[in-house]
């Protein structure tokens, strides 16, 4: 049994919140650079150029890449031989969010769903726990803006709808998203499980680095096919027209009931902010 003080979670979450909002990951930068080469629309190229300048300005000034510094999503993988001491894990994570958003001058965008009263410190975080073998702890922080989350979808299709039905659902979701969400988009697709499982798979699919296809050949081929289908729609950067509507499509699957076919699509904007640390 390995003991870890929960205050270490606070420190890590605080740091990751700030880093995620200011420093764009290299895989996203590389994907935007590829998009700049491929894009044919002059407006689209101008937009991607601004995005590449934007990430440099954020790095130099310490300003966030985007003012919507999101609701904070935390993925916590805990080795089953770890024993947390010194308080509540959940409270420690939320304290990290509280400190990170205050000290990093990040926008507090979390409110009560009905009264709309702002919690004023961006808590509570959305925390997904996973217990895994070993004695390590992996922490991923993903601040997610509303522009993209608002266009994400989930449904349960009939098994007869099959792959064609799924493709149509993904396509319709991207059509709706492309003119409102900050594209080029990244599309996470969760297929199978239950409605909640599919939604989580779709979001987890976004955690895979951009430019990396699925390990399973069949799914990788599907990702390539759908990326082409989505880019052929012509929406382009910010939906103003162009060849690059999406930077990537990531699919994750899980077995489901013989009578159902759950599908979820998590839409992500180009300000794809994910930072990871291990304890």
């Amino acid at each position: 049994m390995r003991e870890i003080k929960v205050e270490r979670l606070t420190e890590v979450v605080k740091r990751l919140c700030q880093e995620a909002c200011v420093y764009l990951n290299e895989d996203v930068e590389a994907a935007l650079e590829r998009a700049y080469m491929v894009e044919q629309s002059p407006l689209g190229r101008e937009i991607i150029k601004q995005l590449l300048q934007n990430k440099d300005i954020a790095k130099e000034t310490g300003l966030p890449i985007c003012q919507d510094t999101g609701i904070t999503i935390v993925f916590l993988k805990v080795g089953q031989e770890v024993h947390f001491i010194g308080g509540s894990i959940e409270e420690a994570i939320n304290e990290g969010v509280r400190q990170g958003y205050k000290e990093g001058y990040l926008r507090k965008s979390v409110c009560h769903p009905l009264t709309r009263e702002n919690t004023k410190d961006n808590t509570p975080a959305i925390i997904h726990y996973e217990i895994v073998p070993g004695d390590k702890v992996e922490i991923i922080v993903m601040p997610k803006g509303a522009g993209s989350e608002n266009k994400s979808t989930a449904t349960v299709l009939t098994p007869a709808a099959g792959l064609e039905g799924i493709e149509r659902f993904v396509c319709k979701t991207v059509e709706e998203a492309a003119v409102n969400t900050c594209g080029p988009l990244i599309v996470g697709v969760g297929i199978g499980g239950t409605i909640d499982k599919a939604a989580l798979l779709a979001k987890k699919a976004l955690l895979r680095p951009l430019g990396k296809w699925h390990d399973n050949n069949r799914l990788a081929a599907l990702e390539m096919k759908w990326l082409k289908v989505l880019n052929d729609l012509g929406y382009g950067p910010l939906g103003l027209g162009g060849r690059v509507t999406c930077l990537d499509v990531h699919i994750e699957v899980f077995p489901c009931h013989i009578a159902s076919l759950p599908v979820a699509v998590n839409v992500q904007c180009h300000a794809h902010r994910v930072k990871k640390a291990c304890l």
């Binding site: 900050c182 382009g236 060849r243």
Partner: protein, 188 residues
């Protein structure tokens, strides 16, 4: 792509008549920020016949909820939010003299019609370029609803804020035109 046009606020109908969908604009002068909550209050005041916290005539509203300003800076990251959430409030503001809007995303048919009827203009700013757009803000001052924090109404002074014309008075829509020009195949 055409050369960028330098514009100064407040906007006049003559200036607006020269703008076409797809034009690049560098905007200078005063703009006011307003999001959902501020729009709701502005429209309520107009419906009650009360005075607004700022004169709408010829003004430009920027749909933005900036990040907090770090020490030594007028504003934090300040990119556009999704305009469609403001669609229900926009026609009344245009009717009362508002001329320009800055945001991101497609507008409703009612807004497109109001833009033509009241001679307004819709600008698209690059969503997600919050740090770059913040660099164009020289001054920021809260003029109403400070309790709304990021959603308060700020009076900004901007220099060369980079924008694209999204909807013009001639009924054109960049979102329709762009897709039509670049689409290879529709949704299967």
């Amino acid at each position: 792509m055409s050369e960028a046009k330098y514009l100064q606020t407040p906007l006049t109908e003559e200036i607006i008549a020269e703008l076409k969908v797809g034009d690049r604009v560098l905007l200078n002068g005063v703009v006011y920020t307003a999001r959902d909550a501020a729009h709701k209050r502005l429209v309520a005041l107009l419906k009650e016949g009360k005075e607004l916290p700022f004169d709408l005539k010829g003004q430009v509203v920027y749909y933005v909820g900036p990040a907090p300003a770090p020490p030594g800076r007028p504003i934090g990251a300040a990119g556009p939010t999704t305009s469609s959430r403001m669609d229900v409030y926009t026609p009344l503001l245009l009717e009362h003299g508002l001329k320009g809007m800055i945001g991101k995303g497609k507008r409703s048919q009612a807004v497109l019609e109001a833009i033509q009827k009241y001679k307004g203009i819709y600008f698209v700013a690059t969503g997600g370029a919050g740090a770059l757009l913040a660099q164009c803000v020289q001054e920021a001052e809260v003029v109403a609803y400070p309790e709304l924090e990021a959603e308060a109404i700020y009076r900004l002074v901007v220099k060369n804020l980079p924008l694209f014309v999204g909807n013009d008075i001639y009924g054109n829509d960049i979102y329709e035109q762009g897709k039509k020009e670049y689409q290879i195949a529709p949704c299967p």
